[in-house]
């Protein structure tokens, strides 16, 4: 660092090797270095107050390389302003840290010769830069509104340039600055605040433990040109649109001259459920609700809250019919087809396309809110997330954001508005299905248990001896003695089911009843049951059965005597019947009951999950693979 004397006030003005221009911190003179001399080229006014957390001598890191902030240029265009912070890396190279709308972009200057020759810069066009396909996001005329610190060029206020911003895959960012005949090219990428590891930040009043300023001397206050009421800005330097809290007029504060965008919308005096100014911590970051708008697509209306943090920028809360989404703008453009979009390895399916029009606003916004502008929207879902694109055909600008479904109760708790939020109605497009198991774990558990159950059954059936231990014929004679017959057999092994089969093949339009008593010969323990056989038929019908089997459970091993006594239709003079005894028979009944019990819960969950998904997709014009479904097909 070389230090010179300010030609105006003799104060010390330092110059790094990479800079040729500085603003004297004592007298705000613009000092230009030419060879070994410095010369005065005028004075510059103080920059208007803004909420940027960055200041001269802020230190940060980009990738593995540290950097120091040496200077700033504030650039202005018709719809807002942004900061370009000049940074010097520890390896001696220089770059820029752009700060706009809560986004940060770090870039290094590249040789302009790398730009494709004869390129016409128009928003929406694709340009191949450094082997990467980039899209021109916007082309704007900008001028220097002010500057401070050291810079590598003379950033005199009013200096005009055309700025072309390009975006590409993996958060890639590039900027081309055309000033007169000079063309400069910068390439880098979007960064999250936290990854820049910034230190020596400017204290922001009212944030991060710093005391707020008194209302009268707030960070920036303006006066409403309609009613003269004071309008204080929560995010000066970034806010472009603000509503007057007194008369509701929508004001444009983009270039420090307050203009009227829209007269107050009196008919729609909507009170936000989350009052503006409320602060709450969402996913570890404190945000303040600074803007609220109602948007509509035909008869459907929803509310959007703009949340702001001076370090992390802007996020949204979107509320439709009691359903909430926490929405973050994406730094990159996802890979998208007509029906699918992939972001961070997650596939999203097209759910809705529509248009959105602003109907009501209150608070402040970082862009110029247009009431009659229609945004084309597309929503892709992968519950609990959704990806939304908004495009403004006139601006040739497409923005992508990712929403995350939030329970109404959680929002109420976080923002301290319990009992003030309405209950959600129906199923929202990215509402997680409460009946679906996480990662299909219920399905896997069911499959595993089913496999075990089937294995046990197969093993047991294969192991059953199914041994025929008795097979005896009897004759029933009406009015005869029909003395009790006995069959003796042995049950071997452990306790087991014993099947007794009764067959009366000659039953014709009559019935027979066989009473059994099974007696354990050693213990005298007995069991009894009655088997009823009947068989009736006509020319084209029949009912009843001539053969039936009953299984006695848990028959202990040992010797048994089975007593058999028949009774029959008194009209039947005689009938033959047969009794068979089988030990250790295979049993299916327990398996069927266990199977039914096992599947009951997963099937119930599955049915509820399906019904939930049907409710979800009933609101979509597309099927679950993102293909358009015409109304006729739906019927």
């Amino acid at each position: 660092v070389q230090t010179y004397e300010c030609p105006n006030c003799s104060g010390a003005v330092p110059f790094h090797a990479s800079t040729i221009f500085t603003v004297c911190s004592f007298c705000r003179s613009m000092v230009l270095r030419e060879g070994v001399d410095v010369k005065l080229i005028g004075k510059v006014a103080s920059l208007p107050p803004d909420i940027s957390p960055i200041q001269i001598r802020t230190r940060g890191k980009f990738g593995e390389t540290g950097f120091d902030v040496l200077g700033r240029v504030r650039l202005q265009w018709s719809l807002g302003a942004w900061n370009e912070w000049f940074i010097q890396f520890d390896d001696g190279t220089k770059g820029w840290l752009a700060e706009a709308q809560g986004f940060y972009m770090v870039s290094r200057e590249k040789p302009a010769s790398e730009l494709p020759p004869g390129q016409e810069f128009k928003a929406g066009r694709n340009v191949s830069l450094g082997g990467m396909m980039m899209t021109i996001a916007d082309v704007k005329e900008a001028k220097v509104a002010g500057c401070e610190g050291e810079l590598p060029f003379a950033a005199t206020p009013g200096r005009q340039s055309t700025t072309v911003d390009l975006t590409g895959p993996n958060s890639a960012f590039a900027s081309i600055e055309i000033s007169g005949d000079e063309m400069r090219y910068f390439a880098g990428r979007y960064c999250h605040f936290s990854e820049l590891s910034l230190t020596n930040l400017r204290p922001i009043p009212g944030w991060f433990g710093n005391l707020p300023l008194a209302h009268e001397t707030g960070i920036q206050a303006i006066n409403c040109p309609k009613c003269n009421a004071a309008v204080s800005l929560k995010a000066p330097g970034q806010t472009v649109t603000v509503s007057c809290p007194s008369c509701g007029t929508i004001l444009d504060v983009a270039d420090n001259r307050v203009g009227v965008i829209h007269a107050a919308v009196e008919k729609l005096n909507i009170k936000p459920a989350i009052p503006l100014g409320t602060r709450a911590t969402l996913f570890g970051t404190e945000y303040e609700a600074i803007g609220f708008m109602q948007r509509a697509d035909g008869p459907y209306t929803w509310f959007e809250y703009l949340l702001f943090n001076p370090h992390h920028g802007y996020t949204w809360l979107v509320n439709y019919e009691g359903h909430w989404n926490y929405v973050e703008r994406l730094l990159e453009t996802p890979d998208s087809t007509l029906s699918k979009t992939i972001h961070d390895g997650v596939e999203y399916t097209l759910f809705l396309r529509g248009t959105a029009k602003v109907r009501y606003v209150v608070g402040e916004f970082y862009w110029r809110v247009e009431f009659n502008e229609k945004a084309q929207t597309a929503d892709y879902i992968a519950p609990p997330y959704m990806l939304s694109s908004e495009s403004y055909p006139e601006l040739r600008e497409i923005t992508w954001s990712r929403g995350r479904y939030m329970e109404s109760d959680a929002i109420a708790e976080i923002f301290g508005v319990k009992d003030q939020l309405r209950e959600p109605v129906g199923v929202y497009m990215n509402q997680p299905n409460p009946w679906a198991s996480a990662g299909g774990s219920l399905g896997w558990t069911t499959a595993l248990l089913l496999a075990v159950l089937v294995a046990i059954q197969i093993f047991s059936v294969a192991r059953a001896r199914n041994e025929l231990v008795a097979d005896k014929d009897f004759t029933y004679v009406a009015g005869g003695s029909n003395t009790i017959a006995a069959i003796e057999f042995e049950v071997k092994g452990g306790r087991q089911p014993v099947a007794i089969t009764s067959v009366a093949p000659s039953l014709n339009n009559n019935w027979m009843e066989i009473a059994y008593e099974l007696q354990a010969i050693q213990t005298g323990e007995s069991r009894h049951f009655v088997e009823g056989l009947e068989y009736y038929y006509g020319s084209d019908w029949s009912e009843g059965r001539r053969k039936k089997t009953s299984v006695l459970p848990a028959v202990a091993p040992g010797k048994y005597r089975l007593l058999v006594e028949a009774a029959a239709d008194p009209q039947m003079p005689q009938a033959n019947y047969r009794v068979q005894v089988q030990t250790d028979v295979p049993v299916w009944r327990n398996f069927v009951i266990c199977l039914a019990l096992l599947l009951a819960y997963p099937l119930y969950r599955y049915a509820r999950a399906r019904s939930f998904e049907n409710q979800r997709w009933a609101q979509s014009d597309y099927d679950t693979s993102g293909q358009f479904v015409s109304e006729d097909d739906e019927e």
Binding site: S437, S441, L442, T445, T446, L449, V452, L453, I456, Q457, S460, R463, I484, A486, G494, R495, Q496, P497, E513, A515, Y516, E517, L518, Q519, T523, G524, E525, S526, R527, H528, F529, V530, S550, V551, L552, P553, A554, V555, R561, L563, E565, A567, V587, R589, N590, F591, I593, C594, L597, L598, Y601, P602
Partner: protein, 48 residues
């Protein structure tokens, strides 16, 4: 929830294995035990 389901399912598998080894029949009261048969064989025979 899945843990509870896993426990219930495992219990069902255990029950099935036990029922096979013990000869149980779920929901069967057929030939429920009578205790020792009194008197001469056959005296306890049930008639409809």
């Amino acid at each position: 929830m899945n843990i509870k389901f896993l426990i219930v399912g495992a219990a069902l598998c255990l029950y099935l294995a036990l029922s096979h080894s013990r000869g149980w029949l779920l929901f069967s009261t057929l030939g429920s035990r009578h205790g020792a048969s009194p008197g001469p064989r056959g005296a306890g025979l049930f008639h409809k």
